[in-house]
Amino acid sequence: MEHTADAAKAHPSNRTYVLIAVVLAVLTALEVMVFYVEALRPLLVAILMVLMVAKFCLVVGFFMHLKYDSKVLSGVFGWGLLVAFLIMLALLALYGKFTGTG
């Protein structure tokens, strides 16, 4: 079948899952540390966003197996995520959050 090549690959081992959980815990600790470090205040938003996206990708990719499953599922999820993101941008723009009037 044409879709076979796109079908699910083998899931990671338990050892990989534990490793991912350790990385998630370390990233969370880093987030909290960054929050308390006064010198990092100017970069706070950027650093926290990068760490948040990294944690998001780890859970979705490894724990939810999106990295290993069919690309159709990535498309279904990605579409919902994209629409949600566009709704957020539109609403924030509507309320003047990007122009400083909100």
């Binding site: 076979t4 699910a8 859970v59």
Partner: protein, 188 residues
């Protein structure tokens, strides 16, 4: 296991579609929170009440529940009944601890005078975190049911897809909290 021509089980595709729609729900609620942020005319204000060390602990608990969830799925897929029962118990148990933390946090806020309609922060905060908490509560009930099925021998390798579907939901709840933790608590 029934599969369409795409090679993806129907229920799995349905769950991912549901998760996609949930992105829009939480996206709208998060945006509402961001729009109302800093617009409260009366206190208490978020910086006076949000307890970062406490929430960090409950966040850690929810993250670890995602680990126990994948370990449960792995055990069910291997046909390891003993470990699947242990992990299927641990996951909703950790979810309950998270909900207890949320209850304590809400109680503290109300005690400090921050009721649901006190100001714009309280309204958007309670709606957003409350909706997430309701999702966690639903997941706890779902996983508790699966644990009961495993204890009565009605959950095995052949129907591991049932655990996988519940796991997708549980991880999504975890993913939402990853975003809420940053946006509400760390980006005050």
């Amino acid at each position: 296991m029934e599969k369409p021509t795409t090679g993806i089980p129907h229920r799995k595709l349905a769950m991912w579609s549901f998760i996609g729609s949930e992105c829009m729900l939480f996206g709208s609620l998060i945006t509402t929170y961001l729009i109302f942020k800093g617009r409260s005319l009366v206190g208490p204000y978020p910086e006076e009440l949000l307890n970062i060390p406490f929430i960090t602990v409950t966040t850690f608990v929810l993250l670890m529940s995602s680990l126990t969830m994948v370990l449960a799925l792995s055990a069910v897929q291997r046909g390891d009944r003993k470990m699947s029962r242990i992990w299927l118990f641990m996951t909703p148990f950790l979810g309950l601890i998270f909900l207890l933390g949320q209850y304590l946090e809400f109680s503290h806020f109300v005690h400090e005078g921050l009721g649901l309609s006190r100001n714009l922060f309280s309204s958007s905060f309670f709606i957003l975190t409350g909706t997430h908490g309701a999702h966690v509560a639903g997941g706890v009930l779902w996983l508790g049911t699966l644990w009961f099925l495993s204890m009565t021998g009605r959950l095995n390798k052949e129907n591991s897809e049932t655990v996988e579907i519940a796991g997708l939901y549980w991880h999504f709840v975890d993913v939402v909290w990853i975003i809420l933790f940053t946006i509400i608590y760390l980006l005050q």
